[in-house]
Symmetry: none
Subunit: 401 residues, 2 copies
């Protein structure tokens, strides 16, 4: 991958517009009966037409064989080395509930759990209490005061919560307090580096007070924390790529990731049609649009091949509305593969389609994994997608004399 | 390539089994008359059937254009950066005679040579003395005592020997004493770094005493040493990949390389049929098997196109025995190319075939260089093979949240 510092040197502001349409978990695996993947099964006349005029290929989000989480997969899509720039689990959890993390904040994932009279964990999920109960308990825990720390105790769903610690000099290098099994005491939040002592002390103080506060709240009478992590400080797309980038995503986690990279997050409804409305409404205001569709991934995660096929077809059916906006560069791809047959993210390379006036079209006649295999983009690391998008939008000057 | 530290984080132990079948020097070049390589000429119905259900591609052992020795080629196959982890020539020579190198040992290749009355080298190979004579002389040299050093003088073949120095604080950074031409004095074993002074002194003392001991053994009246190297300390496959790995190889050097990576070396006979017996016998005891076939490389090195074709066909004919064991992941590849027309290792990318339930099959209908060129694995660095094998065996967790 090209270094961001080099991109920063050669990127220029132009009026041309780029749309990066991400169908989450797009890549798939064939059904045994048909030999066709989800994308190959779906009727996609509009995507196929784009493939004819465009150039296709396959991308690796991290490296061959590596199955990425949503964090690394998205960072890579936007040109950030996913091994160097890590987004921790606590940070992702906080982004996932639309919490506005500040520079320096440390976030952790939490569980309400049940402990017995000796403090030993008997249920790591506190019997999966209701979200309503969770909200009530978090309101109580939010009363806890720790000197020098601003505390945010944020309900997620059922027994899950996020805790954000705001203050000076906090590090995310703190051990999980969740021992990941019952019959044990919760662990201390031990510092994993000397820098993390202040953070560990704050976490331990929070947990001590939480235990008292929850004393009468059986089965949710304790909290376990894991995935302590500091909001990463990412180079901003506006600075590095000279873009005015906007994100259109119905799911909070993707909005949160976009915010980390400096994208302006646009208000939008939850369907792809809503997202296209948002896109049209803000078309004049930005030169880069990231549009995220979650349904493909959700169907894949649920192992629902047919629903993933339908999700792809629904996007295809509305695509003419996007095409009519006439972006200079339109890329359709996924952040990773989520084959329905594996019911989860996978390591398989992701189909990508790039359409622009300047793309040197290949012979691809349709958008599918097997057609992409013969596409002109070849097999590429996903981190090369942004430089290619920029180049096709004529937003990159020559490198070197 | 993905960092071993990351693999270590995400690798998990599962009951699934991987077989990596290495046909040494598999890749070839076409005969002018037929336009077909050795692999393309061979009748390989079983490999072709695997290719139909599997996914193919081409790998580069080190980098395009680089012809690897057996050391780097094998390290790369097992996921080790072949440029970072070097196996020295002396170490390879000692491994090649099944010598059990310990941590910290330094080994050198040796030649018996002839010197004249002034000590000038007149024949670098001592008239290629018999191996019997070599064994007799090595027995004599093994009597040499050096303070603080345990010495092993090991006969190889004809005029060739290996010398292993065992002791504390030895470094391999010592200059060759072999000047590589006649009419010169043997060089001193000069230290190439301050750390290597102890090792250089030991080598010089050995050579001084060897000269006296060999005084009456014309034409083998002196020893030349080169390729001083310390046994590399490689991350162990069991720790990094959480595998219980076994090696089945008839040739000692490959057993030695496997040992460096922490594989358990299984006793086996010398034919592929013997190796398959060994595999079946130990099937329950391991979850990763490296099976090495040397004949393809030997035929290539001899420039014997037809013999290399036959060696490939012999493997293919016995393949059903391996397939019946039903490994979750079966990979067939080479460590490098050895085209018969070049009579030696070459830089050409190596055909690879991966068969597993989760591999997203491509359209490849046969296992050959030209079919692999259109395969779904594309062109890959060989260091990606192990991550892909692990992924297909569902032995890698997601990277990042």
């Amino acid at each position: 991958m090209i270094d961001l510092a080099i991109l920063k040197e050669i990127a220029v502001r132009t009026p041309t517009k780029i749309v990066l349409l991400v169908l989450d978990g797009l890549g798939g695996l064939p059904l045994q009966e048909t030999g066709k993947t989800e994308l190959e099964t779906a009727r996609t006349p509009n995507l196929d037409r784009l493939a004819v005029g465009g150039i296709c290929g396959l991308s690796d989000p991290v490296s061959p064989g590596i199955t990425p989480g949503s964090g690394p997969a998205h960072l890579s899509l936007f040109g950030y080395d996913p091994v160097r720039f890590l987004v921790g689990r606590g940070v992702l959890e906080a982004l996932g509930i639309d919490f506005d993390l500040h520079q320096g904040d440390v976030a952790a994932r939490g569980n309400f759990c049940t402990t017995d009279e000796n403090g030993l964990i008997t249920d790591r999920r506190a019997g999966r209490i209701t979200t309503a109960k969770n909200i009530e308990l978090c309101r109580m825990l939010n009363q806890i005061k720790i000197a020098g720390i601003e505390l945010f105790v944020l309900p997620v769903k059922e027994h899950r919560l996020a805790v954000v610690f705001r203050g000076r000099g906090l590090s995310g290098e703190v051990q999980d307090t969740d021992p990941q099994q019952t019959g044990l005491l919760p662990r201390k939040a031990a510092p994993l580096s000397p820098d993390a002592e202040k953070m560990a002390a704050a976490a331990n103080e929070f947990l001590l007070r939480a235990r008292s506060a929850l004393m009468d709240s059986h089965p949710a009478n304790m909290v376990l924390l894991r995935g302590f992590s500091r909001r990463p400080s990412l180079p901003q797309m506006s600075e590095v790529l000279k873009l005015s980038p906007a994100a259109i995503a119905a799911y909070p986690m993707y909005r949160g990731l976009a915010r980390l990279m400096g994208m302006q997050v646009l208000d939008t409804g939850s369907t792809f049609a809503d997202e296209l409305d948002t896109l049209a409404r803000h078309w004049q205001g930005h030169d880069f649009f990231y549009v995220h569709v979650k349904q493909t991934d959700s169907a894949g995660e649920d192992g629902d091949f047919d629903r993933k096929v339908r999700a792809i077809e629904e996007v295809d059916a509305l695509l003419p509305r996007l095409i009519r906006l006439n972006p200079d560069v339109l890329i359709v791809t996924g952040d990773h593969s989520t084959p329905a047959v594996l019911k989860g993210h996978s390591w398989h390379p992701v189909p990508i389609l790039l359409h622009s006036k300047h793309c040197r079209p290949d012979k691809t006649r349709e958008f599918s994994e097997s057609a992409c295999l013969e596409g002109g983009l070849g097999r590429m690391p996903a981190t090369d997608i942004m430089p290619l998008a920029m180049a096709n939008a004529l937003k990159l000057n020559k490198f070197g004399a």
